[in-house]
Symmetry: C2
Subunit: 621 residues, 2 copies
């Protein structure tokens, strides 16, 4: 590495280190190198509970033992697994061309990633996708990895009754490698895992697994830099992003993506038409299959794990959007619509779909079939254009599956609550249960600046109904490019939606974290309450703004009610009293309690005079 | 007014002035003095649209013509209506006692509100509630007021097809005064309107009307002052609070409430047990019916419009909470539970319920029957304690109705999505369709700091299912007392939930604002998009952070995509092209478009070379 590169690397600052009270732990699989990371949150000794183990998307960045070197990239976890299969070959690859970075001049060129690896592709005649292996009955290390990852907490939960409404999802009590293999073979789940992105820790997207969240990042012609985007990626996974989409559209697009991929432990998705459009100077009519194909190869060799491809925007559907309130709001959709009209032909994404599949199969890139005609307003939800495209996405799913290519389907958009379930039901029926990947949906149009909330409502609901991955929406939606704070806010809003969906679907171990946090709350273990939350820093900060003293972290009240009105504290007395009564608390409890409690009143009163310990009293206001 | 009072008054600063591009307008009713305020948002002339009229909770504070004088209080809008009915009398009232303000010493005493009005009560034998009038077939000015208020936009919407799923709600195409009267007579809606709070502009809470939002404010023993609370009240209604609850528990509780009531144009609710507990030094066991009754009279004379009363916390239900993860989390519920156990008797709220009703009927105070046993965690949702109490609330509703007292029912709390609808269904069945008033519910416990979002998901859903009013939750829930920013954030989150619910229920005119904003978005009317949003300031601020120049406010792109990737801009071309094709856009559009469009391709391409006007181009990054 040259001195310049070193400097470039140090210019990229990312957030590292463990989250509060958290340690990284690993569970080993049976196959070589399968070592699945989790985060364990330590609780206060008075809890008398083991640490809570949670799903961990953050990669090596939260491991204090690892020295992060952005210029070198992450360890290549899957390299050995891929090589061991013997069905791929390394090759020289396509040279990087000036047009790949928008013909950017030296003065604006981003520093290149020096340690670019040599790309691999399938040997002639081989299909190297997880779908191909699953159909052949092979349990890959990737499948075992995600089985262990998804199985989190289920052994402990096995004794509890299942609770939830899964709307036909088939969520197992225990996730086995064989279950994972079968779900992939049936097309109901995907593991996005380009052979050229061996840095990624395998994860699975499917209705019968935990609901996932994608974070969008990416520069635009107007703003943002390489360092900012790498930082946003690391920041997004710190807060739980399961995948990240690089939606860059400006210059340095190839270089930006290289830095992101080499440093990302989560799958990376892109929309290749964005870069293809840059290559033809931003003029949609000038797009050709050759430019697009070249872009697919370029990104395949870099390691992009899934491609959003708007192949369902067919020429005859475009007039269906003409009377809409907001027309076509998908960037990719509108670009292809413009091309279709200009040439008056079906788009090459549709006519060349089989050829696209061939490329995807050679690298194990998954389709994210784009909903280019998704509604951009409440008025346009569930209209003819949207559902016509969905039918086509269903057809294309089958074409992709015929070539062993993994598929998920993108969904809307802006949809009022009463029209959300129809989207899920139609997608399941039309697309053979391929995983659904939805943007929100936003349940009203009237709150720009708060669309993480308008859409968290829709995301929670559609996640419950069966969406496998939620694409986050940040507060800047419709208004500007998200910054670091927006990324975090969007992520937390969507982790809430995804978790609420997991709870409602009845994922066996989902409630463990709610229960642990609620016990901490009830027992006034403030530090545990902060540490168990999705965003410990904010929870602690909010608490400290009204009760900043350390002593208050053990106070048996909070500033909401003050010491005299603390319902939780009173509840402890109630509980103690009720227990001392030795009454059973089953079906007959009401009647029995009514009879048995009279003589306890005086006793309780005598013993319960003062419930607030002096040491915890706050200063008078 | 003395100089001290002047000084005191000027110490209380509130936010006044119109919202951006907004004017106050009024619609006159047939009855004397019925003059219903609305806000009209002016649009850019290029929109060629009339101003959008929206519901306005903000009272005189957003009317630039009104001089606000906090020390004098608001005009007494309903005074003439109340007097004209001839069924009430003024009387000396209960003197204010030192204990009413927690025996606060001079050094900590808040300045008193000098212009305290003389209280009124029903003449002997008269019941002066809106329910009594409705049952007698009388359409009061209050009923006409809310009919006009609720009818907003319905004339314009009459031509459109209704769209929504109302789950049995009977939402009319047009809201008439007679419809309002009938809904109140049936107990399905309430107008909280204490005769001693004539400053309030009438509003209605019921499943067949627009979904409302309550904002909680109030000091605690630990923090906050009178001026802060008045400011929060005015701030909350500026952002759309339909009612405000003063949950103060500290000292100066009587004085704080007086300032709030005299300056509030929305109904004010309280939880009288909080003040009663203060009067007995914070010792729950010392509470008596006499102290409680005295507190009811005190607050009735001040003008509190609805009382939360936890009369459903019956002694035999308390043991049902003993095995809960979070016990009893309602402050009022836990206080009463402690009292019940200490005395081993049913609470006086239950045994004296008929006497409470008599007081409420004499002032037209509405019940908000408190859910003292609501779940405080996902684990405790929909349990035996919660539903046992709900049955009792149903019984008590009938007792109140027998005495012509208006009733709404409070609901949870913490409930996972799949258990929300059962709450609504059970409440409707058990409580004779009395309006439901729910806190959230929070759909997961794991995100302290973001509980406005965890609960907006549940609030949107339960509002759709039939909840009449949503009690907001702020980001500080579980952590601290909300400040001004938290109040606004909570309000916007809940206006989103309420509006999403109105849309999904199919309120005839709800979508007008979404459509107007979406048209503005599609036509790049940035200023209109900001002004039509729930929070224009934040929307504008977020936009300006990436594209600050004034020129960009007319730009035909935004920073998310930049000029080349603007889907909306491309859509305009698509629309123009499709329209020029003269193809019909009905059911056969797909087939016809396929046939008819071929020859248009060259034409489109020739005309569409450059779509971005030079003047709008941003500076290179």
């Amino acid at each position: 590495m040259s001195a310049t590169d070193s400097k470039a690397a140090t210019d990229i600052a990312v957030t590292t280190g463990a989250l509060p009270a958290s340690r990284k732990v690993w569970v080993d699989g049976a196959q070589d190198g399968v070592r699945v990371p989790f985060r364990e949150i330590d609780l206060h000794p008075t809890a008398e509970e083991p640490p809570l183990r949670v799903y961990d998307t953050s990669g090596p960045y939260t491991d204090p033992e690892v020295r992060i070197d952005i210029a070198a990239g992450l360890p290549r976890l899957r390299e050995g697994w891929i090589a061991a299969r013997g069905d791929t070959e390394s090759y020289a690859g396509r040279p990087v061309l000036p047009v790949d970075n928008g013909n950017v001049g030296d003065s604006h060129a981003a520093p290149v990633f020096a340690a670019c690896p040599t790309p691999r592709r399938a040997k002639p005649g081989r299909r190297v996708s997880q779908l191909a292996y699953a159909r052949a009955g092979i349990v890959t290390p990737e499948m075992e990895f995600v089985a262990i990852r998804e199985n989190l907490g289920r052994a402990e939960a096995a004794a509890k009754a299942r609770d939830g409404e899964a709307f036909g999802a088939e969520i197992p009590d225990q996730v086995t490698s064989e279950f994972v293999r079968d779900e992939i073979a049936r097309g109901r789940a995907i593991i996005p895992a380009n052979i050229n992105h061996p840095e990624a820790e395998p994860m699975i997207i499917g209705r019968n697994f935990l609901v996932k969240v994608n974070a969008n990042i990416g520069n635009s012609a107007v703003t943002s830099s390489v360092a900012e985007e790498v930082d946003k990626m690391v920041w997004a996974i710190r807060w739980g992003a399961d995948t990240v989409m690089d939606l860059s559209t400006g210059r340095n697009i190839h270089t930006t993506r290289e830095w992101i991929l080499r440093n990302s432990p989560v799958p990376i998705g892109t929309v290749p038409i964005y870069q293809a459009l840059e290559k033809v100077g931003g003029i949609a009519e000038e797009l050709t299959w050759e430019v697009y194909r070249d872009t697919l190869i370029e990104q395949a060799e870099q390691g992009v794990d899934y491609f959003t491809i708007h192949a369902g925007v067919r020429l005859p559907y475009i007039p269906l959007t003409a009377e809409r309130v907001t027309g076509i709001v998908s960037r990719g959709g509108s670009i292809m619509a413009k091309w279709c009209l200009a040439h008056h032909r079906e788009s090459f994404l549709y006519t060349r779909f089989a050829e696209i599949c061939e490329i995807m199969a050679a690298y194990d890139i998954s389709f994210s079939l784009g909903d280019g005609l998704r509604p951009g307003s409440i008025a346009d939800a569930n209209d003819a254009a949207q559902f016509a495209e969905l039918e086509t996405l269903g057809e294309l799913t089958k074409v992709a599956w015929d070539q062993d290519v993994q598929v998920m389907i993108e969904g809307p958009g802006h949809v009022p609550m009463h029209k959300i379930k129809a989207n899920m039901d139609k997608q399941l029926a039309t697309c053979g249960e391929a995983p659904f990947y939805t943007l929100g949906p936003l349940t009203t149009d009237i709150a720009p600046g708060y669309d993480h909330i308008t859409s968290a409502i829709g995301a929670g609901m559609i996640g419950w109904f069966g969406t496998a991955m939620l694409c986050y929406v940040t507060p800047k939606e419709h208004l500007g490019l998200p910054d670091r704070n927006d990324v975090k806010t969007g992520m937390v809003a969507y982790k809430i939606a995804a978790h609420a969906a997991d709870l409602a679907k009845g994922h066996p171990a989902a409630q463990a974290r709610d229960d642990a946090l609620s016990r901490a709350r009830f027992e006034f273990r403030w530090e545990d309450q902060f540490n168990l939350s999705l965003d410990p820093e904010t929870a602690r900060d909010f608490h400290d703004r009204t009760l900043p003293k350390e002593a208050h972290k053990v106070a048996h009240f909070c500033s909401m009610c003050g010491p005299k009105f603390c319902s939780m504290q009173i509840s402890h007395e109630v509980r103690a009293h009720a227990r001392s009564n030795s009454a059973p608390f089953g079906e007959q409890a009401v009647a029995e309690a009514e009879q048995g409690m009279a003589e306890k009143a005086a006793e309780f009163r005598a013993g319960g005079g003062e419930i607030y310990t002096e040491v915890d009293k706050p200063a008078a206001e």
